[in-house]
Subunit: 330 residues, 2 copies
């Protein structure tokens, strides 16, 4: 099967780039040093490829991601790196034999973990990103409360998400060190063996975490592409040119097949003007023809993937495999 | 069932607001004067409600939307208001008894319509939005080419999408008149009985089109809400507050449950700071509690709907019906 046989828009993953990305990351962070984040691809077939590189534990962002990973036989050590109030479905996974650890940052989330049948937690600490996570000085008390509620506290997590795209490597390394100093102090108060943090942006800078929660490195996007890491753009959205005007052309890839929060997509050899629901209008440097296929590069991989039912593993023009994006939804 | 029983994030549609929106639009544009655009909700249950208000013809943006509408018994007069190169699936619908008209703006799209078994077309004319549509002076020649290829040319379409959100009513009306003057001239060259154009923004201004392709009016979004039309915000994304910090809180509604191309969502009584994959960080005016449910209003309805498997028709806190968003994908 060739990519010209695909209905467009279609999510393409270049096999050689993907495999190089997985190998590069696994060489830098072997085995348990990496806990790949599945939210970036939402595809168990791809997670299985990551497991083949020696990573047994995975990071999830939603209950659904945990459920589908466990059902796919990849539930040996799942971290739901997010606060959850309704934990019943997670408790059911634990009862079925999956290992599920959930983040807690409040007495309410500790109570929810207990009520739902989750047995293991990490204390989530705010290390500078204004999102979830308890104040660092409260981490020890929360750990005590969790233990008093009968939970096993495996350690801490703290996501320096605000530093992922800091362009200057020296700035990024220094700021990561400052954020992780907060987390390491909290870890001393909390106890346990895990310090879980980091992402694709800081995978080399963050030498304090015992495990890095990187996800984007596998597929990459144009936002991450700007900071100079050794990961290639494996993901694109294949489109068909459906209309050509004297000064612009239109490809059938739009807001409903692209994550737009990081801005417009990129088309090689063209200037992108704007996106509509099912269109991207662009000015090509060289003339394009109606019916021509081209690749559109999304600015942000995670929400792009969430818009597609499947992704196609390709080698240039050849479709090798088609994988369901089976962790979508909640 | 109550909304507190729903897994979050969850798409909510307020029944009373929806029904008022449908009634208001149908009073202004009765029967065939409105060809509701299903891309804004992607839900046949909602389209059936629109049909109940007297509209038999619908506008679609994708082949999948046409297929699912036809399978739901709503295929009496479907306009695919977009250029398509692979028309085989549309031809199969026609063979099965659906009426499908497709937009053409080039010899290639005319050839594709013929090859795929589509029998009826509209000539798509560029009326100022740099997207699809032929130059106005070419419309007559394209109609002749289509007829020579054996197609029935029903008329023209031309979408003044660049004018939908012009805030000043007088400016919007004048600019719509200028755009439609182009389309009316092209219609004289093309022949046929249909002049299809317009949207929620220009539904009253556009008195030249024989039918208006409005979609957003049913559910609405905060972008359209700013121009003062008599349609209420029926759509929201229900979330659960999962974390509360001294100066901000986090709800579990993020980039993967919100269309972000028109910017950040809105939360009543709060200032929204930013969105992550599964989070919106906001500063509430009054304290919120962990576990509290709240409604997040998306800036753009169409891509928001495309991220959800289902929408819940609600009356305040009560869930009345749950509808599959069954026209997603391509």
């Amino acid at each position: 099967m060739l990519i010209t046989d695909l209905t467009t828009p279609a999510l393409l993953v270049e096999r050689d780039v993907l495999d190089a990305n997985l190998a590069t990351m696994s060489a830098a962070l072997p085995g348990p040093r990496l806990r790949p984040h599945v939210k970036a691809h939402k595809t168990t077939a791809l997670a299985r490829r990551q497991a083949g590189h020696g990573h047994e534990g995975f990071t999830c962002a939603t209950v659904r991601e945990c459920e589908v990973m466990a059902a796919a036989g990849l539930g040996a050590d799942l971290l739901l790196a997010n606060e959850v109030l309704d934990t019943r479905r997670l408790g059911a996974l634990v009862a079925d034999g999956a290992r599920v650890t959930v983040a807690v940052d409040s007495l309410e989330t500790i109570a929810a973990a207990t009520a739902g049948g989750v047995r293991e937690v990490l204390v989530d600490v705010n290390v500078g990103l204004p999102r979830c996570g308890c104040p660092p000085e409260k981490a020890g008390d929360l750990a005590s409360a969790a233990r008093a509620a009968g939970l096993h506290v495996r350690g801490v997590m703290g996501y320096e998400g605000h530093l992922m795209l800091v362009p200057d490597p020296a700035d990024r390394a220094r700021m990561t060190g400052d954020a992780m100093a907060i987390l390491v102090r909290a870890a001393e108060d909390v106890g346990g063996e895990i310090i879980s943090a980091g992402g694709t942006g800081t995978y080399l800078d963050n030498t304090w975490a015992t495990e890095i929660q990187a996800g984007s490195y596998a597929l990459m996007d144009t936002a991450y592409g700007k900071i100079g890491h050794p990961f290639g753009q494996a993901l694109s959205v294949l489109g068909t040119v459906i209309s050509v005007s004297p000064d612009h052309a239109v490809v059938d890839v739009g807001l409903k097949s692209l994550g737009m929060d990081h801005g417009l997509p990129t088309i090689e050899g063209a200037q992108v003007w704007f996106c509509s629901d099912e269109h991207t209008t662009f000015a090509p440097e060289e003339p394009v023809r109606v019916g021509e296929r081209l690749r559109v590069l999304p600015a942000h991989v995670d929400p792009t993937v969430a818009l597609h039912e499947q992704m196609h593993l390709v080698d240039g023009e050849t479709v090798l495999e088609t994988w369901p994006v089976d962790m979508r939804g909640w």
